[in-house]
């Protein structure tokens, strides 16, 4: 057998592999829409900021859950670690510069991820799920007990966050600075995650997700890969938490709670995991829906969300994006054959 003269680069499989990381034509659209939102809905920028933070948090979860297949119900541990890092440093007058504050939030969350990951990632499945939950509960209780530093149940409010780049104030009533700041940070983190998942490292993570035993059999240092992935994801979740604290000038125990961890999981499943943009679609769908449902049915709005989730879980395992992908494939198929 001889390889074709120009090598295999022109083979359909090689081309598919070589082009999957390229920017698709539609990819700038969500970012342009986010920017358009800033001008079109100045009154909703608070809500918009909340959505962007949630997207960032869901993106960090997608890296571990969607790509590496690590099932976790405790991802808010890292969100909270980042949020409390920013909050405590600012409240106690140690550090309040936003950008370096985020870096510190990422480092602290990454350390928590490293410490817990080295222990937790020896396990799999249900055990892992329970241990992630326990880790988060421990952190939450620690934050509750250390009320001298953390404000306990009341949290820390009126955080004195310094103006962004020394110029742009964070005004809680008109969160214009917050919105653009969060959007920029989201873009940077997204580019990083996107690069990562299409790299050989990302490929090996999907290998672990698809068949962990085979990854052992091809000589991959599986646990080390998982820990690295977990730490990177924790750092991004920490950034999400830190930026949430900065944008709201506020941090409380809710940043560390099961409610937040479960919500982000629901969002990712709703949007479609292992798909990068699932975090975007899921966060927007979930938050817009809960926003409107709670206006129409103030007492029973969660029922609507629950029903939607049941439908998604039963009929669309890959979430909203999965439905769109299937529809696109169905339309293309007749021409392809």
């Amino acid at each position: 057998m001889t390889s074709p003269p120009g090598g295999w680069a022109d083979h359909a499989a090689a081309r598919a592999l070589a082009s999957r990381h390229r920017l698709r034509a539609w990819e700038p659209i969500p970012w342009l829409l986010a920017l358009a939102f800033y001008f079109a809905f100045p009154k909703y920028l608070g809500f918009g900021t909340e959505v962007l933070v949630t997207i960032l948090f869901a993106l960090s979860l997608d890296l571990v859950l969607g790509y590496a297949g690590i099932v976790t119900l405790g991802h808010a541990a890292f969100f909270g670690a980042g949020a409390y890092t920013v909050g405590m440093l600012a409240k106690h007058g140690i550090w309040n510069e936003p950008i370096t504050g985020l870096i510190l939030a990422a480092l602290v969350a990454a350390l928590v991820g490293l410490g817990s990951g080295m222990v937790l990632l020896r396990t799999q499945g249900l055990t892992l799920l329970m241990l992630t939950l326990c880790t988060m509960a421990l952190l939450e209780e620690a934050a509750n007990l250390a009320h001298v530093y953390t404000g306990g149940f009341d949290g820390l409010d009126s955080l004195p966050i310094a103006p962004l780049l020394g110029r742009f104030e964070f005004n809680p009533l008109y969160p214009r600075t917050q919105y653009l700041y969060v959007l920029s940070v989201l873009l940077v983190c997204f580019v990083f995650v996107r690069t990562l998942v299409y790299s050989p490292f990302g490929q090996s993570l999907t290998g672990i997700r698809e068949n962990i035993l085979r990854m052992h059999a091809v000589g991959a240092p599986v646990r080390r890969r998982l820990v690295v992935c977990y730490v990177l994801s924790a750092a991004i979740a920490g950034i999400a938490g830190g930026i949430w604290a900065q944008a709201n000038a506020y941090v409380n125990l809710g940043t560390l709670g099961l409610d937040r961890a479960a919500t982000v999981l629901i969002i990712l499943v709703l949007g479609g995991h292992g798909r990068l943009y699932g975090a975007f679609v899921g966060a927007i769908a979930y938050m817009a829906l809960s926003h409107f449902l709670s206006k129409i049915y103030p007492t029973a709005w969660q029922l609507g969300l629950g029903l939607l989730l049941v439908v998604i879980a039963l009929f669309a395992k890959n979430g909203i994006l999965g439905i769109i992908e299937a529809a696109a494939r169905g339309r293309r198929a007749p021409r392809a054959t």
Binding site: S3, L17, V218
Partner: protein
């Protein structure tokens, strides 16, 4: 030049509770050998492979590679030493393309896998090697397809391709034709026949056509212990082997 065989076990034992799955197995695999391991169901053949690859730790005995004791070497490092295997039941990356399946293995061997910043598709060296490997197994036509969409026989070939991507010196094939419809089984036999001569191959199979055609040496395992070992002719003519294993269908 050492006279030590490529892979050797001495008095290798493994018990699962009261069950002795491997009992005092003395076994030698020479460089470039074509060796078959046969035996009735539950004889401990797969356990033996798991012992050789480090998935299972022996309760007693040693495993040597080129005379060096590797009994305590973990699975991932044994792969680096050149021991690769396939699985009796497919262990593939089912949602990925055939090319990606092999890419993962080649990237792992070449040390490309930990790199985070360059897109996987830009690693032309890994892609070329993976495609050439698929070509050698006549799989290029399926390279772009999701592996779970392939017919089972061709999935079995991908199973072999992943192992070959590790450029092993020892290849352990655990029933490569298991589950393949007989109409397709010839593609597995062809692939096994065409494996590079420099790789030492240990094959487990129940298909006596394959075993007797392929092997230069056969070891018969019964109840975890070596029952007989020898050339295909000796094994085929051994009345005890015929009695316990080959039965009526024996050939000489």
């Amino acid at each position: 030049m050492s006279a030590a065989p490529l892979l050797e076990t001495r008095a290798l034992c493994r018990s699962f509770g009261a069950l002795a799955a491997a009992r005092d197995i003395d076994f030698q695999l020479e460089a470039g050998a074509r060796h078959a391991l046969i035996g009735p169901n539950g004889a401990g053949k797969t356990t033996f492979i798991n012992l050789l690859t480090g998935v299972v730790r022996p309760t007693a005995g040693v495993i040597l590679m080129n005379g060096r004791d590797i009994t305590g070497v973990p699975e991932a490092l044994r792969v680096k030493l050149g021991i690769a295997r396939t699985f009796q039941i497919n262990r593939l990356f089912r949602q990925l393309s055939v090319l990606e399946n092999v890419y993962i293995s080649v990237a792992e061997r070449t040390g490309v896998a930990p790199s985070m910043l360059r897109p996987a598709g830009r690693r032309g060296d890994v892609v070329e090697e993976s495609m050439a490997l698929l070509d050698s197994l006549k799989l290029t036509a399926d390279a772009a397809r999701r592996v779970s969409e392939l017919p089972y026989g061709r999935q079995r070939l991908v199973e072999i391709a992943i192992a070959l991507g590790l450029r092993p010196r020892v290849l352990l094939l655990d029933e490569p034709a298991a589950g393949v419809p007989s109409a397709e089984s010839h593609i597995i036999l062809d692939a096994v026949d065409r494996l590079p001569r420099e790789i030492a191959v240990l094959i487990i199979d129940h298909d006596m056509d394959l075993v007797f055609r392929f092997a230069q040496r056969i070891t018969v395992l019964v109840s975890g212990a070596v029952f007989a070992s020898g050339s295909p002719r000796e094994i085929g003519a051994n009345p005890d082997v015929r009695a316990v294993y080959l039965g009526q269908a024996a050939r000489g």
